[in-house]
Amino acid sequence: MTNNQLTESGRLRHFLTIEGLKRPLLTEIMDRAEQFSSISHQQVKKVPLLRGKTIVNLFFENSTRTRTTFELAAKRLSADVMNLNISTSATSKGESLLDTLHNLESMHSDMFVVRHNQSGAAEFIAQHVAPHVSVINAGDGCHAHPTQAMLDMFTIRRHKHHFPDLRVAIVGDILHSRVARSQIQALAILGVGEIRVIGPKTLLPTDCQSLGVHVYHDMEEGLHDVDVVIMLRLQHERMQGALLPSAREYFKRYGLTEEKLRCAKPDAIVMHPGPINRGVEIASTVADGPQSVILEQVTHGIAIRMAVMSMTLGAQSEQEAQA
């Protein structure tokens, strides 16, 4: 994946993947999000930064939470937002995608927020949009979900401050998870002390070690002494693919219970990108327990998306100013 998401001066023009980004940029995203968080203290929870900009949420795959937080982020920046839910047709996807795109460009859109079940969809769109349009990847296939990874990093930083001192475990279906992929990249760029992945062999990528992570198949062992536990959603469709015996069996081995959580540090935080499957990958007592920061993650998602939206559109203005 090339870094055509950056301008010549290294500013974020699109936000497609964490891969290849440098630590100062990730830190800037989090710092900006911190600033935007203060807007929630205002009576009028809005800043006029993106007034007059048009942002299109282009969702080829359903996602209520991600779409809503992108929409809210855009509205808090005073942009106009359109939500388009487009179900993919089985045939001629490439062609219909570009047609859709050019139609939306003709409506003077400034940004596409793209969610698609095909890996590389956001990148493809970014290659074909008009020069003044920014593209943000809101999740593509098994590839990447960079804003989710950044809101997770932001949540970790709020609670744990110094990344190099941390031990972070990601539990579940790493193989099919765009969230996990982006998280691992972000954790590595931020210099986290140790990254662990925990799950059954069938749900871990074969190249795990080369990603610089430590692999565990036993949950208790993997959770030992960690500061952060990130649970992933078990996608039901995987179960039908004979990758897993049953939901009950999975919960027994890899579901996060209070008992298993006791292997982690006493002040460890528990995260989950949602939606959670209670009793499948996480027990209700943990999801609702004192160590859970799951709902905070949702709140932070708004600020992170505001940061990324304003930075990408800001980089466009910078470029025009230099031209």
Partner: protein, 172 residues
């Protein structure tokens, strides 16, 4: 240019003026990042702990500026922090230099997103006589000065407040 002692004299005359105008109104003080906060802190010290009704509020107007579509994002500064409700209160808004008036315009917009103050009084250390682009003037100014359009006046703080005039148009 202006020495630390001069600035102290300017601040003292501003504090006196503030006492006269707002003394009986239980005002709240708000400084604009970054220089405005330094001036607001200095004024708070001079006026004493009880003069203002709450700790100093700070405004980062970066997201209310009018030049986003021209130059993009501004460098980061600390977030705005108003540790009080502005509703029905008399506010003293403080900045270091008043020139075009655009910063104050942005600050007023931001303040009104926090609520509906009873009044806003503008105090600045330096008011430039030329270059106003909006109908905004200081209620209280330490000093009014006349500078050429390409000249900048800048407040610095390395433990001591100092004013500096930069004539080279290229430096910010």
């Amino acid at each position: 240019m202006t020495t630390a002692t001069d600035i102290h004299a300017l601040l003292q005359s501003m504090a006196e003026e503030i006492r006269q105008q707002l003394g009986d109104k239980k005002p709240l003080i708000v400084g604009i990042h970054t220089g405005g906060i330094w001036i607001a802190e200095a004024l708070s010290d001079l006026l004493g702990a009880d003069f203002f009704d709450a700790p100093l509020g700070t405004l980062n107007i970066a997201y209310y500026r009018d030049d986003f579509t021209r130059i993009g994002m501004h460098p980061q500064v600390a977030p705005s922090d108003l540790p009080f409700s502005v509703d029905d209160r008399h506010l003293l808004l403080v900045d270091d230099v008043l020139h075009s008036g655009r910063t104050v315009r942005a600050a007023l917009n931001e303040l009104f997103d926090y609520g509906r103050p009873a009044s806003v009084t503008l105090a600045v250390l330096i008011e430039r006589e030329e270059g106003h682009e909006l109908p905004i003037h200081a209620d209280i100014a330490g000093q009014s000065i006349s500078l050429a359009a390409e000249q900048q006046i800048k407040l610095t703080n390395d433990g001591k407040l100092q004013l500096e005039i930069i004539s080279d148009g290229s430096s910010k």
